[in-house]
Symmetry: C3
Amino acid sequence: MSSIKDFTDRLDKLDFRNMYEGDFFLTWEKTDDELSAVFTVADALRYLRENNISVRIFDSGLGVSLFRDNSTRTRFSFASACNLLGLEVQDLDEGKSQIAHGETVRETANMISFMADVIGIRDDMYIGKGNRYMHDVVDAVTEGYKEGVLKQKPTLVNLQCDIDHPTQCMADMLHIIHHFGGVDKLRGKKIAMTWAYSPSYGKPLSVPQGVIGLMTRFGMDVTLAHPDGYDVMKDVEEVARKNAAASGGSFARTSSMEEAFRDADIVYPKSWAPYAAMERRTELYSAGDEAGIRALEKELLAQNAYHKDWCCTEELMKTTAKGSALYLHCLPADINGVSCVDGEVEASVFDRYRTLLYRQAGFKPYIIAAMIFLAKVREPQAVLRALSEAGAPRHIFE
Amino acid sequence: MSSIKDFTDRLDKLDFRNMYEGDFFLTWEKTDDELSAVFTVADALRYLRENNISVRIFDSGLGVSLFRDNSTRTRFSFASACNLLGLEVQDLDEGKSQIAHGETVRETANMISFMADVIGIRDDMYIGKGNRYMHDVVDAVTEGYKEGVLKQKPTLVNLQCDIDHPTQCMADMLHIIHHFGGVDKLRGKKIAMTWAYSPSYGKPLSVPQGVIGLMTRFGMDVTLAHPDGYDVMKDVEEVARKNAAASGGSFARTSSMEEAFRDADIVYPKSWAPYAAMERRTELYSAGDEAGIRALEKELLAQNAYHKDWCCTEELMKTTAKGSALYLHCLPADINGVSCVDGEVEASVFDRYRTLLYRQAGFKPYIIAAMIFLAKVREPQAVLRALSEAGAPRHIFE
Amino acid sequence: MSSIKDFTDRLDKLDFRNMYEGDFFLTWEKTDDELSAVFTVADALRYLRENNISVRIFDSGLGVSLFRDNSTRTRFSFASACNLLGLEVQDLDEGKSQIAHGETVRETANMISFMADVIGIRDDMYIGKGNRYMHDVVDAVTEGYKEGVLKQKPTLVNLQCDIDHPTQCMADMLHIIHHFGGVDKLRGKKIAMTWAYSPSYGKPLSVPQGVIGLMTRFGMDVTLAHPDGYDVMKDVEEVARKNAAASGGSFARTSSMEEAFRDADIVYPKSWAPYAAMERRTELYSAGDEAGIRALEKELLAQNAYHKDWCCTEELMKTTAKGSALYLHCLPADINGVSCVDGEVEASVFDRYRTLLYRQAGFKPYIIAAMIFLAKVREPQAVLRALSEAGAPRHIFE
């Protein structure tokens, strides 16, 4: 890219007017043009920052983060995105055990939002609740905005819910687009989203669900592979099927990792918990049944242990297209002999892709910033041009 | 308001020169002009922000927050105010159990203040200690400033102490002023600050005390109502009596909620703990007497339970002026059938006032920002004009 | 100083080109010119701030802090320095117990650094590990930078490791320089770095080590005094000896506090744990041996108790040069009859030096800011001149 015009020209061809003053819950609630707009703005913001041009569109304002689970990389991605645009992050961490309901959500959401432009939420622990909670928050601040309580409606960024992990999967996708040299190069490429063994328990389903819900939209052949019993949400599989049909790609399921890897151009081997188990877990947490939670954990670990052969080995990698599929992971991975005895991937495979994996992760702050930008800025092209022309330095080093 | 001149004209008529380089402990330590200046600057800052004009008066600097009790809304109000003016919030949370004394306060206060412009403290748990602690901090940084250790004296904002809750009560008051169309419309209005039943224990007295200490200054008829044994600090009642006499209003006490509500224009039903109990609690905490604390808690809850009839019901609301008094609460309220079985207010009453309650809360960030502004800015009118003329955007959206 | 030119002229005479894009681990890894550059830039930044001139060189960017131990003053110093330069602090606190290794460090370091310009680490608890960990982090981000994962290499500031406490000792040194009227006045001055009794356990060795490693470089006579068994790292003593030889000063050891204080111009009496004990402690922590840790603690406290006579008394102070040596402490000090019964210093001595001690501490934010500035800014003199000429106000108060 040689100038900001390349990005604004691309935006000129897209219809994303509905993103203005909107929120970002699930990728499949967005049109293809809207997703393209996010990718394009993410690239434009990166282009400007890397050319030492400030993209601060906020002189003041808060970016509220609410994490119901520990997080380092998503927390830092959100903080980076907010800071890049000029917002100060303020954490509202309620802890895992407190699940706020109805009245409390409505009130708290308004109380923290008097000067908040963005709310980022990670709530992936409870099936049927995380996404619901985000909607409750958005409903509350939308009502507050309409009634004049809030002078701006904070935009919601879903930083991972029980259904989707849009900032992760959009970052993954932008990585793929850059790696293969453009979205038009992806048609007919095979991507294997496969389960992999992990000695840990209860990993969320949002990544595999997010991947099949998003990557079926670009004409790729998407294969979901997992052992029997490790199903993801039926609704999301249905989304994937429809997407594939519409995009001219395909969506297939298999219970063979080998089959998924065969001739794949991209592989994404990653552990997750069975959907049914996550539902039981949600009930146990709601009931405060500690003994039940421990029993379920034991049961799940035992179930996992039957599938230690689901590992991304050198041998398997050889069966991929030209023996060199692009290996993806949302990190941190369970690496054999490094972070565990048996895990999701052999150390030599992981090592070979480390730099690429870190680059993959590096797209996330820009994806988040782009989601905020498109929800807040009424005229994105004009503002990108103005920022570029103003050329205020991101840093003064000389 | 059509221009910043309306605000600066109002300020021109007020004498608030002593606020410069001062602190904000208790409303009754401030003159009427000084309180008017806070209201006016709060409105001016809101006017500018809502017209997308930056009010950053700090390019860098820290706003230190110190909360000895959990807090969400006050924490966010303080963070919003600091951020609005350009300060970055840095938390210094010492936990509930650590009560710093003498040497430690002096040293810590200076150590955190090398680049601090503001210190906001919430310390309401211990009778006779919270306000004292704030003074210790101010004494320490004042000494540090005089001796050249600090190049600026951070201003203290009392975010709730054992005596007063000035940012809350000033926000409540500004809400009332706007609701009734001006401070001159308040003369002769009746406001009922009444105790209400709550199933929780040990709520601070700073709100009822702050309300009677402040609202008696505007010519209103202020009635304080509570069951026998739920007295507030005698000193603050004395303040209220003197204020009422000086302002041409009145201050009355009753042990009947019905009497307080009758013909009231404004009602503020809210639970608090008996002053005497809070004193005992302070001693028990000082002695580290966990068993004693639990016993006291049990006793207080039992005592509360005798007064479940102290609830803001629809029936009671009907007895207020025109059956439609303005209902106030500092939030969160204990709502019957919502947050508890029996509480401070019936759900239908609360629902009807929800939007107004949220608006009431929305004044707090601006009140805090105004307190900071008046303590820091030598020439407030000139700076407000300069900010308005510069017209630097709060955000660039188009 | 009457203008920024005085500072830039001084910098013109120094060779500090290797600091650019570098890191700050240990003072003895830096040349004399480099240390002078840090002092000069620290003074220049202070001069500008105190003249209400903004020194923001960052429009956005994160300063990541990682503290493996509780800290208030170093945390606030780091936050102040980052904020002064325009960086937002984002904490990454892993807790005491988690010692990250290899793969995890490499990955985490990159994941938090996509928009990080600075990483400040305090890791002083484990002998042989703190400094090592900092190097692992720097190696990781340097690799990430070279491979294009990161677009900037965050600079590391050692906020205290097992070997050195450079931000503290540099601040101490700048305080001494100003107190005595210039670095050229220090030749031949005697400084006593002595152990002192404390009723607490396991204080780090980084301050005495940092002091003897740094202050031997200015032609001073440095005496290290401690009871038998309280040795510091041999390697650092060797550094001190070489420094003293090169600077024309001296480095002596004694087990007599009296001897160290006699005719001293500067005294720095402070408790620390024996090096050998810290090594054992590190092993016990690694093994998770809680009982062993408790036993060691008991043993160390008992050992300490034999040396209650190692206290900075009025009597001892009288034996110093003109009876008025400059008393230093990194704070907080254990003060007899104030923070403990018997401690490091008599209350009347401490009181007399309080203001000076607070001033001493006040240099730390500027030292940290200078380390960042010199690692980031390619042309420090030009940027200092540009900031001074631009004259953007730090605050707008009139």
